[in-house]
Symmetry: C2
Subunit: 429 residues, 2 copies
């Protein structure tokens, strides 16, 4: 059976996995919180103005208000929800599953008048598929420059939207074929609005592929895996085990949520250091040990902007030592990057690669002023109960939206109808 047929079959099965479904409910909550907060970013104003100027049938909600065609809503909401880069990450393929898949699933669910549980099923199946397709494409695909969030994400978005649209197996395969010729997204956009735009492109591609397939548009049946398909043309390695236990084992149960408003590569180090509970005055030196790949991603020694601070071990170590809340987006500002006491603390930090650590682990070695030493470790992959995770996500949402709106959102992802959720998304933050 082709990978396309396997994926289509998976989408058509009932979803058996309550743990994975509840994890997706948390991701939906977190996605919406990031999206509503992202609605205040400059990128959001541009994309919203464009979509509202184009106008059209009011099929689906825009974050920040207004209703537009599903395709437009998916593009705009995908980009806005990734604007803060505070949404969930899956480290298996290195991508952000929710920002590509949920906007497509939500727009299609609104267009088809479905409820929250159908949305969660579809989003889960689509996100799981995107992680599996990302694994099938492999690290080469990512390393050469493709943004898995967007590329693997487009296929996941198509499958999520296709499930909601009620496509049959054959139409799902055609939708994958259309997504294959439209999927795109480059990592070289990182650091510009092009990065969140990539997530929007993926979500829109998912909607369009499904809409066309539903209308009978013809496409390749092996768009991903066939000769000169998406995989072979985009440095895919066609990893054999990628789809193993699809439907019974859920990789989305291992999705990571961000609790700090910076690059995910910094989070394990922040947690390791926080675990030591040190004060500013105690510390003489901090050594951070991390997986080698992060040194080229988030090791700016002396950032001068808020954006730079989000990619700096030295800065976040200084913030933790000084008691500055790293979960607050507002604290990753240009002013904070230049604050004298933090700049001084950055001077105590050294960062080293340690190939024995996984990409999700970090180790910190602190020398106290008296000369004594303290060490701490953290693994983002360590088990966290759903209750603890839920509480942490609620506190994060409170920081982003305020307590009342966070609470309303927590209820909204448990309401049978989508209206409470789309109502909150339509509000301005």
């Amino acid at each position: 059976m082709s990978i396309e047929e396997t994926l289509a079959g998976f989408v058509l099965e009932p979803v058996a996995g309550e743990g994975a479904r509840e994890m997706m409910r948390l991701s939906l909550f977190d996605w919406a919180a990031c999206g509503i907060a992202g609605g205040a970013e400059p990128l959001a104003a541009i994309l919203r103005a464009k979509a509202l100027e184009e106008g059209g049938a009011g099929q689906a909600s825009l974050i920040g208000g207004g209703r537009v065609p599903m395709r437009s809503a998916a593009l705009v909401n995908g980009a806005i929800s990734h604007a803060l880069d505070y949404d969930d990450t899956h480290f298996a393929h290195i991508g952000h599953p929710s920002v590509a898949v949920i906007p497509a699933a939500l727009a299609m669910a609104e267009g088809r008048d479905l409820g929250t549980e159908a949305l969660i099923d579809a989003a889960l199946v689509g996100a799981e598929a995107s992680v599996r397709i990302g694994l099938w494409l492999g690290r080469d695909h990512y390393q050469i420059g493709f943004h898995q969030t967007a590329t693997a994400g487009a296929f996941g978005a198509a499958l999520a939207a296709g499930r909601i649209a009620g496509l049959g197996r054959e139409a799902l395969v055609r939708a994958l074929g259309l997504a294959a010729t439209r999927a795109s997204g480059l990592k070289s956009q990182f650091g510009t609005m092009g990065k969140p735009y990539n997530a929007g492109i993926a979500a829109e591609t998912g909607i369009e592929a499904v809409d066309l397939a539903r209308r009978g548009f013809l496409s390749s049946g092996v768009g991903l895996s066939g000769p000169q398909g998406f995989g072979p043309t985009h440095s895919g390695v066609a990893e054999e085990d990628a789809l193993e236990r699809l439907g019974s084992f859920w990789r989305m149960e291992d999705v990571s949520h961000k609790f700090h408003a910076c690059c995910h590569g910094l989070h394990a180090a922040i947690e390791a250091l926080r675990g030591l509970d040190l004060g500013t005055g105690d510390v003489g030196a901090v050594r951070v040990l991390t997986h080698p790949r992060w040194l080229s991603v988030c090791n700016q020694p002396a950032p001068e902007t808020g954006l730079g601070a989000k990619f700096s071990y030295a800065q976040v170590v200084a913030m933790v030592l000084a008691g500055v809340d790293t979960s607050s987006i507002a604290n990753f500002s240009d002013e904070m990057a230049r604050r004298h006491d933090l700049v001084a603390l950055r001077g105590l930090v050294t960062v080293e690669a340690d190939p024995r650590l996984s990409e999700m682990e970090a180790h910190v070695v602190v020398t106290l002023r008296g000369g004594a030493g303290r060490e701490g470790s953290f693994d983002l992959d360590a088990p966290m109960s759903r209750e603890v995770r839920g509480e942490k996500l609620r506190r994060k949402a409170e920081g982003l939206l305020g307590a009342a709106r966070a609470e309303a959102l927590w209820e909204a992802v448990r309401a049978p109808d989508l209206a409470p959720l789309t109502g909150l998304l339509q509000l301005r933050n």
Copy 2:
């Protein structure tokens, strides 16, 4: 200077090249004729229904009637105009420049209320840029599976639309950056609706990139050529000479127009055989010699469908010998592929690769029933005066649209205002 800056500078220059401009006027005429005729294809009905259902601001005309946002019009018109695969081809990079670039330029020109000469300038600059970018990407890019019509075409579409939108140099570079993360299109869609869809994707990408860049959306400044830019990630070879004499030498003067309703790889052989002026009864055997690459493209020995017939040396040789008009789309039908006398004539044909021939040449060796031989050659690259080309294109358009509408279209591409052209495009064929 980066390739992005060179291209932006080219777009901002006044167009100096009357021969190239008149060639683009012929391509515009031919594009519109193919587009209006393509409006009757099944793909057109699907895409039009989708665009009209989405609706929105009536910024630009749809082929076949209706007005929709520029972005939708570019997508639909790009795909419809490539539906018959009867539009122009450039063999330098192997792509169809007009179907990606003209729909974007036209939609933007309508949106900005500009006239025919501004459209021709922009379409010429965009088409020329797409051929140059295709050359810069190189044969590896094409051979690995990317559809230059769509990939190089997206950048050409962006530059054409950007010229019309009045973008400055810096915004044009950003538009290229956005196109770089959105451009896509696979050859593995050939033989499905995905092929013409690719042209529409490119046109839409051009519009969207320009619209966002105009609104201040930020992107990579070296989206094509930078580290992990579009070229390096898509098997581009960064051919050094690709942009040589840009603005003074026009590759678009060498664009090829189709005068037979089948794969361009068959045209030289058809012309070579037609030059011998033979009748059905005269011929005992026909050897066709052609460039090796065409054997894997258009050498179906016994096609059973009209689509298959478009990719068959044997079938077109049989048609020429039997006096069947190869310029008529209607003659590439399932019935014609199964007509007994043609099937019998196909048995006389052998096809051989000859690496001494260019991709645009063919040689035919005919053995007459009496045993005597006749030989003929044709090179699609041989000079053809603009007058002769214009006459041939008018006859082609008459076959597609009828004499009255072809004549009106001929006048429309010479009218200062775009209304006569868009009026004709909006009619149903």
